[in-house]
């Protein structure tokens, strides 16, 4: 009898501790989420606060008055954001397409074809992995200038597509595709081009999607390099454009914040749509690190 009592109280204590633990867990996780959310809220809140309230100074969590005038201005009246979004979209799309194409081609050539020197070439590409992008900017700038590519999309696209990350990821992935599949295909009369297009690429959709999403986001968000090679308002990307808007509207936080929100919206939507894919693409990269 007494034995049963002690077990009883033990489980009681355990569930008690368990409950406390869960409460603490929720508090920490949701607390951090609130902290993480504050900047978003401030961005939105300031973007809908009228100038009249802002100019009084002071601090509010919830604006006493609401206005969507600035949103309306940038969505409808001043189409400059659309122009920038179009530039960014063009650059990011071409970059993504180019990276997927040329990286998968060379990865195919290195892993699935057999020719002398491929090992050395792969080693050089892998070694360049250690070279951080920014250290090259000065010689790259003179190169772009010499090629007459300043103020063009290609100035941003081509250097980005030269990066080795995609080659690295795809080489890893292609290596694991069973050799027998390719041999069966050769007996079926596939040419190398057809094996690449009909066997290797379709079997690699997960990694290609992951890589594509990642390249798209990175390319979309580039800052320093476009800042250097783009000097024309009409060619700006969103990340550069919002900085010029801030400099012009330094005293109107609602204008600044609206432009930030608008600039962030496209990728937020992409993220909403592809949350799991994007997160697994992050994890895929780490797997190779």
């Amino acid at each position: 009898m007494s034995n049963a009592d002690t077990t009883q109280s033990l489980t009681d204590r355990l569930t008690d501790r368990d409950t406390q633990y869960r409460i603490a867990l929720y508090a920490v996780m949701y607390g951090l989420a609130v902290v993480f959310f504050i900047p978003y809220w401030r961005m939105f809140q300031l973007s809908v606060t009228p100038m009249s309230v802002l100019s009084q100074g002071g601090f509010n969590w919830i604006p006493p008055e609401l206005t969507f005038a600035v949103w309306q201005r940038y969505l409808v009246e001043e189409p400059i954001i659309y122009q920038w979004a179009f530039n960014t979209l063009t650059i990011a799309s071409i970059t993504t397409f180019l990276v997927l194409l040329v990286d998968s081609m060379i990865a195919f050539s290195i892993t699935r074809l057999d020719w002398p020197g491929q090992g050395a070439i792969l080693a050089v590409i892998m070694a360049s992995f250690m070279i951080p992008g920014y250290v090259n900017i000065i010689p790259l700038y003179t190169l772009i200038n010499d090629l007459g590519l300043m103020n063009s999309y290609w100035a941003i696209i081509l250097p980005f597509a030269a990066g080795p990350l995609g080659v690295f990821l795809l080489v890893q992935f292609f290596r694991d595709i069973p050799e027998e599949l390719e041999e069966a295909a050769r007996l079926d009369g596939f040419s190398s081009l057809r094996i690449y297009a009909r066997i290797i690429l379709p079997l690699s959709t997960p990694i290609l999607t992951a890589l594509g999403l990642f390249v798209f986001i990175w390319s979309w968000n580039q800052f320093l390099w476009p800042l250097i090679v783009l000097n024309d308002d009409a060619l700006y990307t969103l990340p550069i454009g919002v900085v010029t808007l801030r400099d012009v509207n330094a005293l109107a936080p609602n204008v600044i914040m609206t432009s930030l929100a608008l600039a962030s919206l496209p990728l937020f939507i992409v993220f909403l749509l592809f949350q799991d894919k994007l997160i697994s693409s992050v994890q895929m990269q780490a797997g190779t690190g």
Binding site: L25, Y26, V28, M29, L32, A33, F36, Y40, R42, L46, G57, F59, V102, M105, I106, S109, L113, D114, W115, I125, S128, M130, P132, G133, Y134, V135, N136, I137, I138, P139, Y141, T142, L143, L158, P159, A162, P164, S192, I217, N221, F223, L238, P239, I240, V242, R246, M257, S264, L267, V270, F271, L272, Q275, L278, I279, S280, V282, Q283, A286, G289
Partner: protein, 307 residues
């Protein structure tokens, strides 16, 4: 139903096969597939890399490169005596030294917490990760506002500093660190979450039967299994944060009094404001050597730890 179609007449050698033997064909096709990337790689990565070295040995004339004069290692010597370089290096180390531990700590807490079954974990995951998809200019400008007069940071932590943190020699860097952690932690959180989810659950069951408490399970099971992922986080974030540029450029312009001027910012100013391209290239190369050293060291550490 013996074959009629596939008779000897199909057993032919095509012209392409007549012209080249098998290994030559393989080489030609292989090069054809490799060529587009190799061209990009050579022109936009290898060539600038070598040109950078060449430029760093010259007093470079941007408008008329042929008028550049060879100066040997003078640029590097000047670099070592330039207090601005040492200031930038120190600031960068300070930034990395604060940011990386915070990122690792917070992303680990987020990953371990979210691994438990929580209500609304998808929403939480979205919130933690989402800053990562923002561009640095959006992040920098939002947080510049947060730390400006009337911003959240200044409103609640104002007693810590006079004026705003971004105008304080002491607080400007921590403000940039906080901004960076908010922006980047989600990425590493995702990495660590995957690593945590890959730890086999039966190990915890076995440990529970062995009488292990939460702390022991964390120390003896979770940490060892996440070691590689944690190393990745440390290495990747160190290398990435070392190249910080956007946040100081947008939030402080490197100020006040150069207290947030980082190496890449310094490089940017030399290259694109004062146009000292030869000297700037030397800075770039120095940065390269530092970073390659850091990652080589890390690769060695990871390599030996992998066994």
């Amino acid at each position: 139903m013996s074959s009629v179609e596939a008779t000897t007449d199909t057993r032919t050698v095509s012209r392409w096969e007549q012209l080249f033997d098998r290994s030559t064909r393989e080489l030609l096709v292989g090069l054809l597939f490799a060529a587009p990337y190799l061209a990009l790689f050579t022109v936009f990565l290898l060539y600038p890399l070598l040109k950078g070295l060449y430029m760093s040995l010259h007093e470079w004339n941007f408008l008329e490169p042929s008028k550049s004069t060879y100066v040997g290692l003078e640029n590097y010597a000047r670099l070592l005596e330039d207090p601005a370089f040492w200031n930038a290096l120190w600031n960068t180390l300070e930034f990395v030294g604060m940011t990386v531990p915070l990122i690792v700590g917070i992303s680990l807490v987020l990953a371990l917490g979210l691994n438990k079954e929580l209500k609304g974990s998808r929403v939480l995951q979205f919130i933690y990760f989402s800053p990562y998809v923002l561009t640095v200019s959006v992040v920098g400008i939002i947080w510049a506002q947060m730390f400006a007069q009337g911003g959240v940071g200044t409103q609640y932590l104002g007693w810590l500093f006079e004026g705003t943190p971004l105008n304080s020699k002491f607080w400007a860097m921590p403000a940039i660190v906080v901004t960076t952690v908010w922006w980047q932690a989600g990425f590493y959180f995702a990495v660590l979450l995957a690593a945590r989810q890959n730890v086999p659950e039966r190990l915890y069951e076995a440990a529970r039967l062995d009488g292990a408490g939460p702390w022991r399970m964390f120390r003896d099971i979770t940490l060892p299994h996440m070691k590689n992922a944690l190393l990745f986080v440390v290495i990747a974030s160190s290398i990435f944060q070392f190249q910080v540029f956007g946040q100081p450029y947008l939030m402080t312009k490197g100020g006040p009094v150069g207290s947030t001027e980082t190496l890449v910012y310094y490089l940017y100013e030399l290259g694109f404001q004062t146009r000292e391209l030869g000297f700037g290239a030397a800075v770039g190369y120095t940065l390269l050597v530092i970073l390659v050293g850091v990652s080589a060291l890390n690769y060695v550490l990871v390599g030996t730890n992998d066994e």
